[in-house]
Symmetry: C2
């Protein structure tokens, strides 16, 4: 690891310091953005991609300001920005930078994956530096990225190589939180193991050379909160991988389901909530806040989530 | 399909008209870009992301001008643009637009895939229209996108829905061209079928409601030229899917390997070459062109590829 600080160690230190194994998903669907922010943005830029991007930027900024002191990390979902084209992706980049300046670790939920030099290009885009003439230039500069493993080692190892060089990390999709994740991931293989276990084995292999000072590697795994039994099994199969757990809250995962994703010392997992935090003001139990105070509602939702999770693990 | 023109029909018509089941991969790695174009771009924009983006734009434009009359479609690989950040992605967009204005069909090689509203956002970004206030705005506006199936139907159906609405199409990764594609895709399932066959079954299901006038659906499949035996099997298993075949040329696939990817009437498949075309001037057999004439070399490489493939099928 070229003797540099490893992001997985920084993530663990952040979780301990804030006492919050929590990541807030910055997935700013326009329907979560309060009317007054949209109105303001559309007045300035029109009902254009620029207008939409400005609205989600103002939304993000207020949420980040309200919650950054409570959490170690955020997870912007790039699709929500990509749908607004170049202006949207510029706000993805600005959000990443803003979060990093607040001391937050940024997990880019980009689910990229290809082969060889193409995967290397994605890894450069999201975690590394582009070589242009004599310069090495940071691009989107996330701290972690999520990676899709369907193409095999050829697809993942270029990310691992960039992680080694830059001290960064990835989370590989192993068992995703969605209903139909079983269609392929749960398929039983000859020899009686589901596919996701074989992916988990490979995650161990891919992470082998990147274990940091707390015993965790730079290659983590994504396992959905909606599958607690599989979470328990995978916790055992992935002793050196942090597990990024989506699907808590709006997707149906509960605090009590999460116990088995963690190790006995309360480490080993970090739980994401997106809609449940950033759109809390639209949810039951947060009526008192009102749309104007969406950021305060988000802060309150983080506090409740922290209690729920810390009380369960 | 709301009675609108279907892109898969247009692709088939383009292939017939040009007598070329060929797609040129626009994957402008900087090391393929001739020195004089880089020099010019760096003089104007410095050794910056903007400079790199300008160099690949000038490169692309010359290649497209030289080959568009010979081919029905191009396949820009977004990773190669994403690595240069916002300026790079702006050139991806400009390239897509330029190609469409030349009458080419654009297959965005984006390999996106997520779940639910997130997949929908990707589908909007690449094939659909973003709703902003009263406006519906085109974003990257490709004609087809490649999609990663690891997350199952939840991940793919949002793309299919956008395809239905917009008359566009996707190619789902089934059996990829890379060496380690077998790690997961070839795993034998209980009941003795490899995973990729189950993915192929789902491709049939996902495409069911989108069959166009030539009998092919809007949901195609990616199957690597490097696996001719699997190609033959999948041609049989996917009677209504066009197969996008990467891995020809630089990755080792040969014309004679391709026969079985096609149906007896010479339809059913479209073969991609990227490096073999756009970097032909750096290859054996093209020395006479010289770096300055890289676009003429690309044109000659398309002609040779067309002969090789049409002679084999």
């Amino acid at each position: 690891m070229e003797n540099r600080e490893m992001m997985i160690d920084r993530l663990i230190e952040g979780i301990k310091e804030k006492k919050a194994p929590i990541v807030v998903g910055l997935d700013p669907n326009l329907k979560f953005v309060p009317g007054h922010l949209k109105k303001q943005a559309f007045e300035e830029y029109g009902e254009t991609l620029e207008g939409a991007a400005e609205a989600i930027w103002q939304f993000n900024k207020a949420i980040i300001d309200a919650v950054y002191a409570l959490i170690p990390a955020v997870k912007p979902q790039i699709a929500m920005y990509e749908q607004f084209g170049i202006p949207g992706l510029s706000v993805f980049q600005r959000t990443t930078e803003y979060c990093r300046n607040k001391g937050l670790i940024v997990i880019g939920d980009v689910k990229r994956g290809d082969i060889g030099s193409t995967s290397e290009s994605y890894a450069i885009a999201h975690l590394g530096k582009a070589a242009v003439g004599k310069n090495l230039l940071s691009v989107f500069d996330e701290d972690f990225s999520t990676v899709n493993p369907y193409l095999g080692s050829d697809g993942v190892l270029p990310f691992v190589n960039v992680c080694k060089k830059e001290g960064k990390g990835i989370f590989v999709l192993v068992k995703t939180s969605n209903k139909s994740s079983g269609e392929f991931q749960d398929r039983m293989l000859t020899g009686d193991h589901p596919l996701y276990e074989i992916v988990a084995e490979k995650v161990n292999e891919w992470g082998e050379e990147t274990v940091g000072k707390y015993g965790y590697s730079s290659v983590g795994a994504v396992v959905g909160a909606t599958y607690p039994e599989e979470g328990r099994k995978l916790r055992g199969l992935l002793p050196k991988s942090y597990i990024l757990v989506p699907g808590y809250g709006a997707q149906g995962g509960k605090g009590k389901d999460l116990k088995h994703f963690f190790t006995e010392d309360g480490l080993g997992a970090i739980v994401n909530s997106s809609r449940g935090i950033i759109a809390a003001y639209q949810s039951e139990g947060y009526e008192a806040f009102g749309e104007e105070n969406f950021a305060d509602a988000a802060r309150e939702a983080v506090i409740r989530m922290r209690e729920d999770i810390n009380g369960s693990i």
